[in-house]
Subunit: 161 residues, 2 copies
DNA sequence: GACCCGGTACTCGGATATAATATGTCCGAGTCTGTACGG
DNA sequence: CCGTACAGACTCGGACATATTATATCCGAGTACCGGGTC
């Protein structure tokens, strides 16, 4: 099991979009160039974000994407679920129903014990992702990345938006 | 992203193997019949468990599988990792390195902020799985499943092992 | 009667096809911008 | 000089191929059991 690359791309793109000046948009082409990934394919990830209502789009020259909410109101989980879907990582196919020892017409009450455990773990994963907001990334970057580079990136975004 | 069906099968199989009488084995054929899944394919999941050292095998008539450790010493994480691999669900491809604003020869120190968050969530997921042991499943089943059925299953296993 | 030996049937393990999904690419519909023209 | 209409170019969005992974299946190597033969 492995998350799609698009998840990583979407997260990085949102992190960049958070720095787009008010009222401006950043095109998928610019985002693709910035991250060094195929433009056409990255567009699919951005589409998913758009359908999830996380980003807004505009067509035409100087069009592109921008966040639809404030960075404070977008969680990692929002982005991950937009790309990967909201379904649980574990799906119970109820194979316990094939148990030959079950009496005819037996009906299992509630979820099976194994599924419960797996779903709990899944919930813990999602809880961790829900706890981190896009605004938190900005703070981390300030600590990690030299101010000079941060400034250059901001300038690069400003020019392309 | 979705876990393989084999994970579910492996968990259920281990839960059954925990009830095999001391010194006996249960064949993949029996496990497949019990769960109503293709025998040959289930064997792959059991192979993974075997390679991970979770189960022991014997060939020949009355051969098959049995747990290599006590149910108390086998966690859900052990089983999941045996089938899915130990790799993180999130892989960082370091696309930040493609950032055009980076000075020549710039070397990123430490993991990128986004990867750190994703890995933390992954760790939380694994921690939940590590906290549940195979022996806990037996307790849950006692609460969920009528004693009559539990007894029938134990008898079924005894006959086939 | 006890021991040894060989055949048989059953087991696991890895190598091999098929289906589903993730990855990557392409083209068309729509719209904003910039310019040229007319008032 | 200002407003308007139009052409162009750029955007997103979905439809279309390819690569990788998951699913399912098959066959061979190896071993424990069982029966017969021998001491």
């Amino acid at each position: 099991m492995q998350l799609k690359n698009q998840v990583e791309w979407a997260l990085h793109c949102c992190s960049i979009l958070a720095g787009v000046p008010e009222g401006h948009f950043l095109s998928s082409k610019a985002l693709a160039e910035f991250h060094g990934v195929p433009k056409e394919y990255l567009a699919k990830a951005l589409q998913a974000l758009s359908q999830a209502g996380l980003v807004e789009t505009t067509l035409g020259p100087s069009g592109g994407y921008r966040l639809a909410k404030k960075p404070k109101d977008i969680t990692f989980l929002d982005i991950v679920e937009a790309v990967e879907g909201k379904g649980s990582t574990f799906v119970c196919t109820e194979i316990r129903g094939n148990n030959p020892c079950l009496p005819e017409g037996h009906c299992n009450r509630g979820a099976c014990a194994i599924a419960r455990v797996m779903w709990e773990a899944d919930a813990a994963w999602r809880a961790k992702l829900r706890a981190v907001r896009l605004s938190d990334v900005a703070k981390m970057l300030v600590e990690d990345v030299p101010a000079k580079i941060l400034g250059d990136v901001a300038e690069w975004v400003r020019v392309r938006s």
